[in-house]
């Protein structure tokens, strides 16, 4: 029997779903970020060397490789510029719960140097979304805000506090204002 016959292939496949649990404390910089977003406020750390503002705060500047701390904390706006987006048409892979097309957008908040990624954009048809649009945070009601999805790995979780970013209708930002911050 040749190795690529269907029967042989079937023998060689084993399904093995793995679940691993990780429990950890948030770093002090993220803990502070979480405290503030529960209050409806966004903060970052301003690098003392290059003045870039990282949101959420990382506790260091990756460009200058210097640590940042509570002393470097700055408040940033909950309004900003849509710098990039993808409209995702979900396929039913294991774990995918979405069924309708959805948006994954990056928003450069006013006062920040790094966009926050993975945000939903509302108040506009998907087909009309474009970079440069001015957007503002739609905060979930305080009692409904959840922060369990925010981890030290820094991926996502903000959507359980900020439901979406809706377009404000203000004139588009100039590409000059965000061309260094695309993600």
């Amino acid at each position: 029997m040749s190795t690529d016959s269907p029967a042989r292939k079937e023998e060689m496949v084993m399904e093995h779903l793995v679940s691993l649990t990780y429990r950890e404390r948030l770093t002090p910089n993220l803990n502070r970020f979480v405290d503030r977003i529960l209050e409806g406020e966004l903060i970052g750390h301003r690098c003392p060397s290059c003045s870039r503002v990282y949101v959420p705060p990382k506790g260091y500047c990756p460009l200058c490789v210097v640590t940042t701390s509570a002393e470097d904390e700055v408040k940033v706006s909950d309004r900003g510029i849509l710098t990039g987006f993808t409209i995702i048409t979900p396929v039913a892979y294991y774990g995918q719960q979405a069924t309708d097309p959805f948006v994954y957008a990056s928003v450069l908040l006013d006062g920040a140097s790094t966009p926050v990624g993975g945000q939903d954009i509302t108040g506009v048809a998907h087909g009309r979304i474009h970079t440069g649009m001015r957007v503002r945070a739609v905060w979930r009601p305080p009692a409904e805000r959840r922060v369990e999805g925010i981890t030290n790995r820094g991926w996502g979780g903000l959507d359980a506090v900020i439901e979406s970013f809706e377009v404000t209708g203000e004139p588009d930002a100039s590409p000059e204002d965000y061309k260094e911050h695309l993600f």
Binding site: M14, H16, V18, L20, T21, Y22, R23, E24, R25, T27, P28, K58, G59, Y60, P62, L63, C64, V65, T67, N152, R153, G154, W155
Partner: protein
């Protein structure tokens, strides 16, 4: 192939901690900066960077990419990553330096074992041939190895306890150790089994930590360091991955790696060996051919602090530190990977 003159001129490590509040990248930021400062160089002088870490341990795909932020990766740098201990990153960086076109290289390793249950995570690591989970956790495997050693009459449980007592006592002078201090061998033997025949003290602590090493070539090393730790040879070898097909009371690949690294069985001042479980020190002492009089794991070794993915590189640092500091002329460092001393790396260093 004769190795070009390459030496360790700077290093740094975090203390081994049970549960570090900083992220893995944050642990690395200070560590790499300290190693660069010790070497007396500017970050941009580093011609090649290699990192070692484990995404399974960090708990996220591509977690190793953010670790690179701690190395200062803008403007773009030349770098690589190994899904292994930082000692194997050091090996790659050492090979890269031998090309002869760059003078300085950085290697680092990092890991946080605290967020997960190591026994659970390591059992899910994939077998390299079948890509199926290994299925056995390191503690159970180490207990089988310890039993084999006892059955072969090559060691007693008291021997295991003596390794632990000596490690903890030596760790008393190591500020980075997690477990240290005088312990009585009889008191250790009175403790209940954790996984027979191993007691809890025969196991390493669960640790978070990071380590970084700067190497330089030839005259550059001499210019930057008054007494560099010259790497006379470095080699790593691999035994079959399936513990059932080899004699687990020895580590043949460690013997080969030591020989290929140029260790001739002659006098050694210090050997820092990656014996993560106490019986493994007995196995390694024999497999590496460490002579009487060699100080073994003066830092306390992995039994005093086990920051997985940095612990092997820490062995190199502890050995190099004693050469740079002048208390040793010839030192051997050992690192390991895989189940039961499957993969072994040996780095032989000398002063000038």
């Amino acid at each position: 192939m004769p190795a070009r003159d390459i030496a360790i001129i700077g290093y740094a490590q975090t203390p081994s901690q049970r549960d570090a509040i900083q992220s893995e990248v944050q642990l690395l930021v200070g560590t790499i900066t300290d190693a660069v400062t010790m070497a007396g160089i500017e970050r941009r002088e580093i011609g090649f960077t290699c990192a070692g870490s484990c995404d399974y341990l960090t708990g996220g795909p591509f977690a190793f990419v953010s670790n690179l932020e701690a190395a200062g990766s803008w403007p773009p740098i030349s770098e690589s990553h190994v899904e292994a201990d930082g000692a194997f990153a050091l090996y790659e960086a050492w090979m890269r330096l031998q090309e002869g076109d760059i003078d300085i290289a950085l290697a680092f390793g990092s890991g946080k074992s605290s967020p997960s249950n190591p026994a659970e995570v390591w059992a899910q690591q994939l077998d390299p041939y079948y890509l199926a989970p290994l299925g056995a956790d390191p503690v159970s495997l180490a207990a089988i190895q310890a039993r084999a050693l006892l059955d072969a009459g090559r060691a007693t449980e008291r021997d295991f306890a003596e390794v632990v007592a000596r490690s903890r006592a030596q760790a008393a002078s190591n500020p980075n150790a997690q477990l240290s201090g005088a312990v009585d061998v009889d008191a250790l033997l009175a403790a209940p089994y954790h996984t027979a025949p191993l007691r809890r003290h025969d196991l390493p602590p669960i640790s978070d930590g990071a380590a970084a090493v700067i190497m330089a070539r030839g005259d550059k090393a001499r210019e930057l360091c008054s007494r560099p730790a010259w790497i006379r040879g470095m080699d790593h070898r691999i035994d079959p991955h399936q513990p059932g097909v080899r004699d687990i009371t020895t580590a043949r690949s460690a013997t080969t790696a030591a020989k290929k690294a140029g260790y001739d069985g002659g006098p050694l001042d210090v050997a820092e060996v990656c014996a993560t479980f106490s019986p493994q020190e007995i196995i390694l002492r024999e497999a590496l051919g460490l002579p009487e009089g060699t100080q073994i794991n003066p830092s306390g070794g992995p039994l005093a602090g086990n920051p997985v993915m940095a612990v092997g590189l820490v062995r190199v640092i502890e050995a190099a530190a004693r050469i740079i500091g002048g208390s040793a002329d010839r030192a051997l460092a050992h690192a390991t990977a895989g189940p039961l001393l499957q993969q072994n790396l040996v780095c032989l260093m000398e002063g000038e």
